[in-house]
């Protein structure tokens, strides 16, 4: 799908947690266009998850604002929730329920009719190679299978915007490949994707545009290939990443 007008418009967005000394996200301005696959990259604690949590209605910004599909987040929360999909880093599934039961429940919460929902779920399960496990309980699934169900739970209503927080963390290469291919397919059908990841090679290959965030601010932004070309010593995104964020360990308690 071609890239069109602004899907997400972020203006001076900041977040400071209670008791924290510094801002996790600081006066961030960003425009994400319709049809983009936008990668939010950064070291641990850089502010990626905080930003994505604010955009997916989980966190209240300290200041600033944003719009999704032209709707202001403060005034149109219910409408925005109907337009977005969110895939959290945690599995966020009911372990004692089957894959189908989990997906039927989360799909129902978007108000999708039972018949459409069943068809929709079957389609996604098939694409992600999980059809034969539809009636198995989640607590019997491997990490990769749970990740794929976690993804399906966020896309059942064919969202306009999809937020993914490290959707391929802790999965094998095969599962990662299936997930990325499925996301590309979704994007081709019109879903704008915003995703965070520590897999820079994956982001380089998958994203149409990336932003490297550090200490809550964007330090570098652009199309992966153009960014690499603009940095003479860089062969991959990782080189730029280390150049912009440094090699010191980032551990936060």
């Amino acid at each position: 799908m071609g890239i069109q007008g602004a899907m997400i418009q972020i203006n001076h967005l900041s977040k400071k947690y209670k008791g924290a000394e510094n801002f996790s996200v600081s006066k961030l301005d960003l425009t994400i266009n319709e049809g983009e696959i936008f990668g939010l990259l950064g070291p641990n604690g850089a502010g990626k998850t905080t930003l994505i949590s604010m955009l997916s209605s989980l966190l209240r910004p300290t200041s600033g604002s944003f719009t999704i599909c032209g709707l202001n987040y403060k005034d149109h929360q219910k409408e925005i929730k109907q337009l977005i999909g969110s895939v959290p880093q945690e599995y966020a599934l009911y372990p004692s329920l089957t894959a189908l039961e989990n997906l039927m429940y989360f799909g129902s919460m978007y108000g999708i009719h039972k018949y459409d929902l069943k068809n929709n779920i079957q389609g996604h399960l098939e694409t992600l190679g999980l059809s034969e496990f539809a009636n198995k309980k989640i607590n019997t699934f491997s990490g990769g299978m749970k990740r794929r169900i976690n993804l399906i739970a966020g896309i059942l209503h064919s969202p306009k915007v999809l937020f993914l927080d490290e959707p391929t963390v802790g999965v094998d290469v095969q599962s990662r490949n299936v997930i990325i291919e499925h996301l590309k397919q979704l994007n081709a059908q019109g879903t704008t994707i915003i995703y965070t990841s520590h897999h820079l090679n994956e982001a380089e290959e998958f994203c149409t545009r990336v932003a490297i965030i550090d200490y809550g601010a964007i330090v570098c932004e652009g199309e992966p290939k153009k960014l690499i070309a603009a940095h003479h010593h860089a062969l991959h995104l990782e080189d730029i990443f280390l150049e912009k964020t440094g090699k010191a360990l980032r551990d936060y308690a």
């Binding site: 604010m54 997916s56 209605s57 989980l58 966190l59 209240r60 910004p61 987040y73 403060k74 929360q77 219910k78 929730k81 109907q82 977005i84 999909g85 969110s86 959290p88 945690e90 599995y91 966020a92 599934l93 009911y94 372990p95 004692s96 329920l97 039961e101 039927m104 429940y105 989360f106 129902s108 919460m109 978007y110 108000g111 309980k137 739970a153």
Partner: protein, 422 residues
Amino acid sequence: MHKLLASAYKEFLILSRDIGGLAVLFLMPLLLVITITLIQDGTFKSIKQNKIPIILVDKDKGEVAQNILKNLKSSNMFALTEQSSEKLVQELIQNGKYQLGIVIPENLSKDLNQKVAENVDGILAQFGAIEDTVPRKPTLLETKVVKLYFDPATQFSFRNSIKSGIDQMVSKIETQTIYKAFQEQITDDPSENIFETESFITFKEIIPNAGEKALIPNSTQHNIPAWTLFAIFFIILPLSINMVNEKNQGTFIRLRTHPVSYATVLGGKAIVFLSVALIQFALMLLVGIYLFPVLGLPQLDVVGKLPLLFIVAFFAGLAAVGLGLLLGTIAKSQEQSAPFGATFVVILAAIGGVWVPVFAMPKFMQALSNLSPMNWGLNAFYDVFLRNVGFVELLPEISLLLLFFVLTTAVAIVYYNRKNEV
């Protein structure tokens, strides 16, 4: 509506998959009500059948001591052992070998007879009924003390009832001695029956009843409502744990990104856990009706009361569910919700009158009792079971229970929305 039903169905599935949890949810309350009723119903029987071991020292060796002994034996409540040393009695009681020790003082019979004779002489002389106009000079006699030694572990209520029983017995003996003294003074023929020595005033237990049927409350009719209510309120534990689990699993966070209100999520839980409370109640009734008679306990009488009983159970269940939803919303971990929930239910039961009747509580606790939803529920159950009231008379209590549900749920929703406001 679609989202609410989907939420309820999901809760039903989660609950139905937890077989252990379900067993605890349904079997433990049944076990509780059976155990408590067996204990309470059996207490009176066991006092009659399993005699209480008591030890007695008779320093009097007279007629009064013989009378006390005779009365104790005829009561069939005690296994009596006689002992000569008061010191040994103290030791045996202290060690818990006997629950009660009675020491009858020296010269009790002699001094009592003398005291009574002097009093009777005095009275008759006043009325000129005896020829000897010079009344006997009263002898200075010390008041006699019958000592009662109790095992320190004996419960206060048991101690009081034994004390009052013995006090009654001693008073009766004293009265009979007075009658006898009068008889001796008035007539020389001991067979002549001048006085009727049996008690003139006796007691008859009557339970007022408004309907046609006589209502005799028994341990079953007292215990089923009280402990059923206790079990219904214990539902706050699994309910709050269920909600804490959702927080830990991340499913609550995921739901916050969905276009679904917290009220709908809570509604699904309320439907399922209220159903559980009603099933619990139905099982309790079945146990009272069918199992209790088999266990030798009085049968629960529900004839003509079932609709009202289920109305009360419904509103009591609502109140319990509201409390569970509030606790589950506020608690951050199972370590917070489980101990708090369990302790809070016990406190609500205590101030609600499940263990000690409200009228027997101190004034302050009586006032506090009016604030316990368990008290409202218990009164409503007693109204149906024991007072034969109709729906209109239940309205104040079930309205309070409904109001409690509305308030607790509203507080839970406001708290959640404020905390997660974006």
